[in-house]
């Protein structure tokens, strides 16, 4: 790799975490991300936002994408750059995420009609993170890419 500092690419450090698809293990992703974010210098409030967003993303992957099959993994990539933290959460796509869900906002009325009162996860992720993108991997898995900027 070139040592040329005039055209320096952002320095990237990637941590990869492969978790069993069992509810509760989203905590491992939350603690790992918060450990990294704290050391990158994120404000404690932002670290809490990050933990909530990761929790929602990994819980979705466990429950929906991987259908609670503990034998298959949820893959979490944490990419630390100088000015931002990028988080990818990917599942195996046992169930495809309805792309419409990724852009529409739930309403209180609709949520109350649901038995689990759920459906707020994606909305919450969008509220908490600076950039959010939902995609489908070539393998068919659901992926979400979230970015949180480091304000100096």
């Amino acid at each position: 790799m070139s040592e040329d500092t005039t055209q320096r690419e952002p320095v990237e450090k990637v941590i990869e975490l492969r978790l069993p698809s069992k509810l509760g293990y989203e905590r491992v992703a939350m603690d790992t991300a918060s450990s990294l974010a704290r050391r990158m210098g994120f404000h404690p409030d932002r670290v809490e936002s990050l933990k909530t967003a990761i929790s929602e993303a990994v819980t979705n992957a466990i429950e929906h994408g991987n259908q609670h099959d503990a034998a298959i993994k949820v893959v979490v990539l944490l990419t630390a750059r100088d000015d931002e933290l990028i988080i990818h959460v990917a599942d195996q796509g046992r169930k495809q995420l309805d792309q419409e869900c990724t852009t529409s906002s739930p309403t209180i009325e609709d949520a109350f009609e649901r038995e689990d009162k759920g459906g707020w996860g994606i909305w919450l992720i969008r509220e908490l993170m600076d950039e959010v993108e939902f995609t489908t991997a070539p393998s068919g898995g659901n992926q979400v890419r979230m970015v949180i900027h480091l304000e100096q």
Partner: protein, 152 residues
């Protein structure tokens, strides 16, 4: 939804081989161990042992060479949590006979550094290098039902 078997409850973590990242590994594996019901005292021991094993992998196994990775595998067995720390084997571990005890160290026999492996073996229920095709693999285990405290 069936109860997942122990062997399915594994976690993998891959880190940049750079000093400082052992702290992230420590927080990730501690969160995983908490899910398994390992006691808080033993988790403190586990964190110390894992930090030492990761630092060994970064400093010795990978010889502080940039761009390399350290992998941490956490495997759940019925009685124990088995952790393997794997480096890329720039420098192969060569056993130098029986490790010195802390009494020897304090008495000035050998260097005051290099206590990592000794410390790990004191904290874990089982520890040592295991053969692997490429790279060094250091394996250590914590009983899942053991009472808090050091091994006897």
């Amino acid at each position: 939804m069936s109860t997942p078997s122990y062997t399915q409850m594994s976690m993998e973590l891959s880190l940049p081989s750079e000093l400082g990242y052992e702290v992230i590994a420590r927080d990730a594996v501690a969160a995983f161990a908490r899910r398994l019901g390992i006691s808080a005292d033993r988790i403190e021991d586990l964190k110390t042992a894992l930090s030492e094993a990761c630092i060994n992998a970064i400093e010795h196994g990978n010889s502080l060479r940039p761009g390399l990775r350290v992998q941490v595998f956490c495997r759940v067995e019925e009685q124990q949590l088995v952790i393997e720390v794997v480096d890329q084997g720039v420098s192969a571990f060569t056993p130098k006979g029986e490790p010195l005890t802390i009494v020897d160290k304090i008495a000035g026999v050998g260097s005051l550094r290099g206590m990592g492996l000794m410390l790990i073996s004191q904290l874990c229920d089982e520890a040592g290098f295991v053969p692997r095709g490429s790279g060094n693999c250091f394996r250590f285990a914590f009983h899942r039902t053991l009472a808090p405290g050091l091994k006897h």
